[in-house]
Amino acid sequence: MTQDTKFHHGDATQNDSPIVEMKNIEKHFGNIIALAGVSFDVRPGECHCLLGDNGAGKSTFIKTMSGVHRPTKGEILFEGKPLNFATPRDAMEAGIATVFQDLAMIPLMSVTRNFFMGREPTTGRGLMKRFDVAKANEVTIEAMRQMGINLRGPDQAVGTLSGGERQTVAIARAVYFGAKVLILDEPTSALGVRQTSNVLATIDRVRKQGIGVVFISHNVRHALAVGDRFTVLNRGKTLGTAKRGEITPEELQDLMAGGQEMAALEGSLDGTI
């Protein structure tokens, strides 16, 4: 394996103003309080990791960012202007692409159709304007191959793909369409080692193009490998934000566990899970 290439981890372009800024977001579901005031921002060209225990509210938070939920309280600024995305489509048109934890795929539809769902490429003009199936198939197969998955064919139903294959479709789609901000909610959870390294490399590549990345993960090592800043959530609140280099893996892991004791396992895992 090539050992010679290292990621560039210079100062993220911290001086740029944030693309998206979220202030004191609260979100309640009936009597359940999922977010109790969270602030967060993403700058162009940085990878901001959102970490935290299960049920901390990470997915709920990025869903308010991508227009799925409307915050119960709090303010969202997009490129400096207050904004409320009414639908995910609005967020997408503003340039935010998201890989949701549940992937947002239609099991009965083919890979290609899922890939381009909502943003189909067309060919022809006027009345003859139609879904460009050939091009769509080509793009899909190619995007998947880049992520390390060789599809049998682009018309296999997504419901019959393996867990990792499905997750890869969602990631490839978001990367393809992510114009300004790319949000990834545990994108590597079901991926094989090869695919995982591809995704991490992709995050790095995308960031270098000046896109802001929000990366949610439970894997400290993955977060540290690509992250520029780290924000930790716990029980619906922020525990704080750290910059790359300001925090050790062990400290970060402790924060992610919500400060609670972990089961005895360290011996065989070299410090981090």
Partner: protein, 368 residues
């Protein structure tokens, strides 16, 4: 399998015969059922059933049903139901009748008005479904009752107490638009063919088939357009997505609500089209027009392979489903079975046709 770009051969794929590839598609599954029904009737029914006039005879109701069924199928693929289709036929039939007879509007005004009116009602029920978050079943069910009731009230108002509005034929007889929506197409051609002895004639020399009823042409055209839209237009993809999983679709940027409302409007317009055609053909309308057509339309769509849960199906399937249904309903009258057994027969044939088509598909594609 025209969606496929095949890369290098993959050792994880078995070769698949063309036939298996075809029958896998929801569009073509229903064909097996059609074939079975045709075989059945060629054995049991009078020969005249598959004469030209016999075919046109069963294709006419099949087409009227089919226009509704294609609308219903699109809506079902989009994940919703419309139970008010049948009442909509009565209601827009009444509206059209009133336009033509009471207000003496020419067809060029009456027909667009009827479509606009039906579309507006469809938009209303669609918006109610979306806004309230209630199942479309219950909302359109309410519309089933409301529209049926309004048809009755409206008819009584328009006719001064009767439940039947007459005189449409006379009112539209000489309208230049009438041949597009009523009667038979290509009468000249058929007369010539009859003279040449290619079309059977009655004893008095008139051709048994004076032309192709326009509803059949509409039916075929709508089936083709709907198939094109579903498979080759972005909005077709949106329909599948909206019906497959509305949250996932919406999260992926599909304008789910707009798609659904448009589908409700489309179904309503299909009902209006059927209303216009049948009212002009019959020359009258009454309060029971279209009774239970919503039911038959859904049957045809399901026979044609649509899933009730949405997200799967095809317009061509609904096309063949309607033909199966129309053939079975009319076919019995060509056989010697007692009418008392009609329903037993209808149910049995439906079941056998669907099971057969299902069994064939499973056998061929190796599902289990």
């Amino acid at each position: 399998m025209n969606d496929t770009v095949q890369g290098a051969a993959d050792e994880r794929l078995k070769a698949e015969p063309l036939f298996a590839q075809l029958i896998k598609r929801p569009e073509l599954g229903a064909v097996a059922g059609v074939i079975l029904v045709v075989i059945f009737f060629s054995i049991t029914a009078d020969r005249s059933m598959f004469s030209l006039s016999g075919i046109i005879n069963f294709m006419t109701p099949a087409s009227q049903l089919g226009i509704l069924a294609i609308g219903a199928a699109l809506l079902m693929i989009g994940g919703e139901f419309d139970l008010s289709i049948g009442s909509m036929v009565a209601f827009s039939g009444l509206f059209f009748g009133v336009c033509a007879v009471t207000w003496h509007l020419p067809l060029v005004a009456a027909i667009p008005l009827t479509f606009i009116f039906a579309g507006a009602v469809g938009a209303l029920s669609g918006n109610l479904v979306i806004r309230s978050g209630l199942p479309s079943f219950i909302v359109t069910l309410a519309f089933l009752f409301i529209l049926r009731g309004l048809s009755l009230v409206g008819l009584k108002w328009a006719t001064g107490g009767s439940t039947q509005l007459r005189g449409v034929r006379e009112a539209v007889e000489n309208d230049w638009l009438a041949p597009v929506f009523s009667g038979d197409a290509f009468p000249g051609l058929f007369a010539k063919l009859a003279d040449m002895g290619l079309v059977a004639t009655f004893n008095n020399g008139t051709p048994k088939v004076p032309g192709i009823p326009v509803e059949i042409l509409w039916f075929v055209a709508i089936a083709l357009i709907a198939t094109y839209v579903l498979l080759r237009m972005p909005v077709g993809n949106w329909i599948f997505a909206a019906g497959g999983d509305r949250t996932a679709a919406s999260n992926s940027g599909v304008p789910v609500n707009k798609v659904k409302v448009s589908l409700f409007m489309l179904t309503a317009c299909c009902a209006a089209l059927v209303a216009i055609i049948t009212v002009m053909d019959a020359g009258s309308t009454d309060a029971r027009r279209g009774f239970q057509k919503e039911f038959e339309a859904i049957i045809a769509a399901v026979v044609g392979g649509c899933l009730l849960t949405g997200g799967y199906g095809s317009a061509i399937g609904a096309f063949f489903g309607s033909i199966i249904f129309g053939m079975v309903v009319i076919g019995l009258t060509y056989t010697n079975f007692d009418q008392d057994w009609f329903q037993v027969f209808l149910g049995g044939m439906l079941l056998i046709a669907v099971m057969f088509n299902n069994a064939i598909r499973k056998r061929v594609t190796g599902e289990r």
